[in-house]
């Protein structure tokens, strides 16, 4: 994977994904190693995302790399109308690797084609967010001991939720049984279902999550995001559709873990937080290790 960009989770084979997860396990045991000393990592956040940015920057600094960049486009030459290509080419002069988040779909793929240095996509509009996907996979494997043959339930906005799309595609490598819970308006798009069918796997669709909680190994909750809706009336109609409360988990399998890409709004009640099945805060921490694994394998030939 040396010097290769990661734009979409589909850029990696099953073996490459597993290699990153294995390496991330090593970093979890020992996150502070000076293996990227002398390397410069550019962190270009054309749209703000404090959570993702801090996770990347902390991951890089714990490995001894120095970090340059910006946390929003407002203070940069982008504001003066500079093209993405020019920004990327300029920053490539000063760095060994670029981590970028950008509000436009496909911007990361384009950047990876013009940049002489590798790109890690930290989210391009509504399209891809592959490091979130890797940390989700890491969290699933860590809590279940395996990625194979699991019953994985996605709840909420399956239409616009890019984390659901990426994770679904990645799980197609692992013989997953998919349970898809959403309002009718927010079903998983056919483009993503095509991947499930191509992998000859099964999925079932539901509107009521109570039907499926007790057979799930993973309950992956998502937020219904206002900004993804072209139609605000549609948003008002579905925004409160799914609210997980602790009493709904009484008869769940003991190995069930609840994941959520965060931040949550009201789809998980705070009374679930103290349940050992709640895993969403540890899940975010795992992001550090997979990002370290990724940067190390791109820059250090690990």
């Amino acid at each position: 994977m040396k010097n290769r960009s990661l734009v979409s989770i589909n850029d990696y084979s099953k073996e490459e994904i597993i290699r990153i997860l294995d390496l991330a396990e090593e970093f979890e045991k020992q996150p502070r190693q000076q293996i990227l000393k002398g390397k410069v990592i550019a962190s270009l956040f054309f749209e703000p995302s404090t959570r993702t940015r801090l996770s990347f920057e902390s991951a890089a600094q714990q490995l001894g790399a120095s970090v340059i960049g910006f946390s929003s486009a407002a203070t940069t030459s982008v504001q003066k109308g500079e093209t993405l290509k020019d920004t990327i080419l300029t920053v490539s002069n000063y760095s060994d690797l670029i981590v970028m988040r950008h509000p436009v779909d496909g911007s990361a793929r384009y950047a990876s084609e013009v940049a002489p240095v590798p790109i890690i996509n930290a989210g391009d509009g509504a399209n891809q967010h592959p490091t979130q996907c890797l940390l989700d996979l890491y969290s699933i494997r860590k809590t279940q001991g395996t990625l194979d043959n699991l019953d994985i339930t996605f709840v909420g906005d399956l239409k616009y939720g890019r984390t659901v799309h990426s994770l679904t595609m990645a799980l197609c490598h692992f013989n997953t049984r998919f349970h898809l819970v959403s309002p009718v308006e927010l079903k998983l798009p056919s483009a993503v279902k095509r991947h499930i069918k191509d992998a000859e796997l099964q999925y079932e669709q539901y509107t009521d999550m109570n039907e499926v909680i007790n057979k799930s190994d993973i309950l992956y909750m998502t937020r219904i995001q206002r900004e993804r809706f072209p139609d605000q009336l549609e948003y008002e109609r579905v925004k409160n559709s799914y609210n997980l409360v602790n009493s709904m988990l009484t008869d769940a399998k003991s190995n069930l873990r609840i994941l959520h890409p965060l931040p949550r709004v009201n789809e998980i009640s705070t009374d679930v937080d103290s349940n050992p099945m709640a895993y969403y805060f540890q899940q975010a921490l795992n992001g550090i290790y997979v990002r370290q694994a990724l940067m190390a394998s791109i820059l250090d030939n690990k």
Partner: protein, 155 residues
């Protein structure tokens, strides 16, 4: 009827290209895609012509003009059933079907307004596939969204 006679339905051309079996409703699109509304060549077209295979069809004849593969690929997206006939001295010189290409580059806009190809000066690139109902879709190399056949806009 011989091939030669059939061509006479609209008007015979001595040299050039006949594009036959175009769906009637996309004839004007084909004219636009190929830039025939701006050409200096003689162009004849017919719509709502009888067709045994399709019920109704359209036909376009362009004098003194032969097409490159890339130009023809553009037609295939709106008229996949079209037949291409090269005429040399009133005779059918070569007949071929248009082919839908595996990749469609530079000629179609991405339907997603938030795609980088609609925001900056980036050539579009698509992979062609068919969804479960069999309809043609273009998958954008950049934003990974699909543009369906009805939404295709040519650059």
């Amino acid at each position: 009827m011989s091939d030669k006679r059939k061509e006479l339905i609209v008007s015979a051309i001595s040299n050039g290209t006949v594009i036959d079996h175009i769906p009637t409703e996309t004839v004007f699109q084909v004219i636009k895609i190929l830039g025939l509304n701006k050409t200096k060549n003689q162009v004849y077209f017919g719509i709502n012509l009888e067709s045994k295979k399709y019920g109704s069809k359209g036909i376009i004849k362009i004098s003194d003009k032969y097409f490159e593969t890339e130009e023809i690929n553009k037609i295939a997206l709106v008229a996949p059933s079209a037949t291409l006939i090269e005429i040399h001295d009133y005779e059918v010189f070569k007949k071929s079907s248009v082919r839908i290409p595996q990749n469609v580059n530079k000629i179609v806009k991405c339907f997603n307004p938030n795609c980088i190809t609609n925001k900056e000066d980036v050539d579009t690139k698509f992979e062609v596939f068919y969804d479960e109902s069999g309809s043609l879709k273009l998958s954008c190399h950049y934003c990974e969204k699909n543009t369906s056949k009805e939404n295709i806009v040519f650059i």
